[in-house]
Amino acid sequence: MKRTVDVSIPVGPVHPCWKEPARVKCETRGELVLSAEVELGYMKKGIERIMRGRPWQEVMFLAERVCGICSVIHNMVFIEALEHISGIEVPERAALLRVIVNELDRMQSHILANFSYCYTIEHETLGMYLLDTREKVMDELERITGARVTCAYIVPGGVRFDLRSEDALHLRASLDALEQNITRYIGMFEHGPLIALRSRGIGILTRDAAREACAVGPTARASGLAETDRRLMHPTYQKLRFTPVSREEGDNFARIMVRFQEVLQSIALIRTCLDTLPEGPIRGGGIPGAGEIAYSGEAPRGELSYFIKTDAAGRVLEISIQTPSIMNIEACCHYMLKGVASLADVPSTFVSSDPCIACTER
């Protein structure tokens, strides 16, 4: 859109605070941000175009590489969509193992997001603590799946590797340590006076605005929309009696706190899974067939939807992926950034919505 504006300050594409390139053009009057416009296209790989017409064995790995941070959930949603199309049953043990790996992935993603935020508001100490904690979560992920990132753990009809009993013991021990650490960091974050200055009451997303922009995940739950959590609809999570966290403030502080609380919740979920993990097979088997489905799951950043059409050989004919970051960055840039009092709050507000440009553009 071509318009004439007073002062348009571009932030990005290469910016010290951003992990990925995006360009936010802020229309300003003095320090006040009037509106923001986002220019993308730095990460557009055309992954949906590559996927079309390929067998599911290839698309499975491509789906994982839509986003490297939350790769497990992309894997899980794609495979579960295939299973729903072809009526493949998953053994109980495999279903619980999926939840364990997914929650570990969510933990590392949330901790990384909170690290980015702390780094952006220049609270490097807490940031480094969080990054160190994240390495411990990555260790557990590597112990179970065999890789740190893009582990392709979930396959149709089950999971790739079983959880060995010594790994389960190790996981329990490190969960205890993690819980202790995260509780300490939550205290630091909640009561830090300077953190409150940079976070409370900044970048407010009201409930109505969140609904209008279709915000999802922690961004929406920080604005009081608890029902947006797709885990409520997932059968395995329903068995674990999952209840979502939510807060009412809708500012940067609330978004970070929701993520912290979800990390604690994930720890509790993994413990429940470990307690109730039955013995049995981890692979049920089955052949993906023809069908069409729209299937969603809860990624660390929110609702992730796959729209898939396959043929009898399991080839993907049509695919469309709707990632959570699309909605969240839109909510951030067109609603939160409007009326931000100072340009210095633009990066921190942007990072607080946990933007993932690789997801957004695919």
Binding site: E20, M43, E58, I69, L112, L131, E135
Partner: protein, 151 residues
């Protein structure tokens, strides 16, 4: 070798500023570069400082398979980095395009078509230790006696 040159060599080997730029990857390599900052790998103990500001960088880590949005911009960014400089390709994407180099894709790998790449770290994604050792191995050899060789 003059005294000044040996002094420069010493200082340069102990102070490397790093900027990273993502030209269209899946984000997995980005977070492994970020993990290098973690106290476990502690990139700063080797005198490497991740700045992410091209204008004061020595080493540019290039991640990703070169999307159309970067046309002209990556070259501009490379010119902004002061000499001596070196670019390292992180992950399979800048080397071959990894699994994005398929029919109907939008990316245009390898990155070495567009800017000179001194070293490549393959892997999807490579481990933080590999990234770290690549920087440590390449940077000092490129920067050593830079002024002498330029003459």
């Amino acid at each position: 070798m003059t005294l000044l040159q040996s002094l420069k060599n010493l200082v340069r080997s102990k102070s490397i500023h790093v900027a990273y730029v993502d030209v269209g990857s899946c984000n997995g390599c980005d977070i492994e570069v970020l993990a290098c900052l973690a106290p476990r790998y502690d990139i700063e103990q080797y005198g490497i400082y991740v700045h992410n500001n091209p204008r004061e960088a020595d080493v540019l880590l290039v991640i990703g398979a070169y999307t159309p949005g970067w046309e002209g911009k990556l070259e501009g960014l490379w010119e902004k980095i002061p000499d001596p400089k070196v670019a390292i390709a992180i992950g399979n994407c800048p080397i071959s395009g990894c699994l994005f180099a398929r029919p109907h894709t939008l990316v245009d790998p390898p990155v070495s078509k567009h800017i000179p790449i001194a070293a490549q770290v393959p892997g999807c994604p490579p481990r933080p230790t590999e990234i770290l050792s690549a920087i440590l191995a390449v940077a000092p050899t490129v920067f050593e006696d830079y002024e002498v060789r330029k003459r």
